[in-house]
Symmetry: C2
Subunit: 192 residues, 2 copies
């Protein structure tokens, strides 16, 4: 998606350790006009799928998912990290390892909001090793719901997550796939 | 706001200890059409204010803030709980006590995304004792930005937060204010 790639080139910062910081427009400050463009593109890419719900994970997936949901006219459910006393009743859960925060999270979704009748589009901001998406897939499978697709803003193409998900047969649509980053020159190479 | 009050009556659950669960449509599963109606109402209520940015706090404020932001045509910044290694540089910070999670959070906003030129609308899902909003106000004041208003989905009118904020002169607009809840009958009384 050209406008997202241009925005990453313009405002993304490449840091040591294969880190790309896009908190200027994606996951701290959020450009809602850009999220709308992403929503239109996801709708085009998943137009033929009978999606009735979007599932994302807190926190940085929520904003994108809510704006994208308008193009599918569906509700959003976000998976919560760690148990909350305000979530009663039964939950589906999974464990997700965050390399950013160097810890393992328990991730939960209330059984009330996911079931066999649901056709799910997973939305998240980043796909790298695939830990977060695989945790969501585990939860959706527990619920007996159908995974219609996976929509990602930025995929780190050098990491294995996207490749493995596609090999399993999922429709993974990443609006920008990064094949190489150089933290000395700041150069970012996209896959096309 | 009548459609929000009706939705709370229909789908909200009153629990012991003055707890209102609205995770069916507000803060776990999210009704994006309802969020759009809330956005229109906030725009009407804050129409005369020169708002250039919305500030909210993770996680349950983010979805509402992003949909609402479309009616103001502004970006959203969300305050993050606890330090992340992916947020470099200087941050504004504040401490917020969560009664739901029974702990104190450090909440941070990058100095890059808040400054003296900013005119801020604070958006959050709940206002009760006001801890979260007061933490955001402290951050905005550190940044030298202007607080143009505070937009809340549901205010618990029996608790002190809204009253104190209004006494300080802030324009606080809560789309539903609850004056009483009965966990035996499930009855909810709104302020009008």
């Amino acid at each position: 998606m050209e406008i997202l790639e241009k925005r990453i080139q313009q405002d993304g910062l490449v840091k040591k350790g294969n880190v790309l910081k896009v908190d200027n427009f994606l996951n701290h400050q959020m450009d809602i006009q850009l999220f709308n463009e992403m929503g239109k593109e996801f709708k085009r890419l998943f137009a033929d799928k009978p999606i009735n719900k979007i599932l994302t994970i807190e926190s940085s997936g929520i904003g994108i998912a809510c704006v994208v949901a308008q193009y599918f006219d569906v509700p959003v459910v976000f998976a919560k990290k760690t148990q909350s006393i305000n979530l009663d009743g039964e939950v589906y859960s999974s464990k997700i390892e965050s390399f950013t925060h160097k810890r393992v999270y328990d991730v939960i979704v209330s059984r009330k909001y996911l079931g066999p009748e649901d056709h799910i589009l997973i939305i998240d901001d980043f796909l790298a090793n695939g830990c977060a998406v695989n945790g969501l897939i585990e939860i959706i499978e527990h619920a007996g719901a159908t995974i219609e697709g996976i929509g990602i803003a930025i995929e780190k193409g050098q990491q294995i997550g996207g490749k493995l998900l596609r090999e399993k047969g999922y429709q993974v649509e990443s609006l920008a796939i990064i094949d190489a980053m150089d933290d000395e020159t700041g150069e970012i190479t996209f896959r096309h």
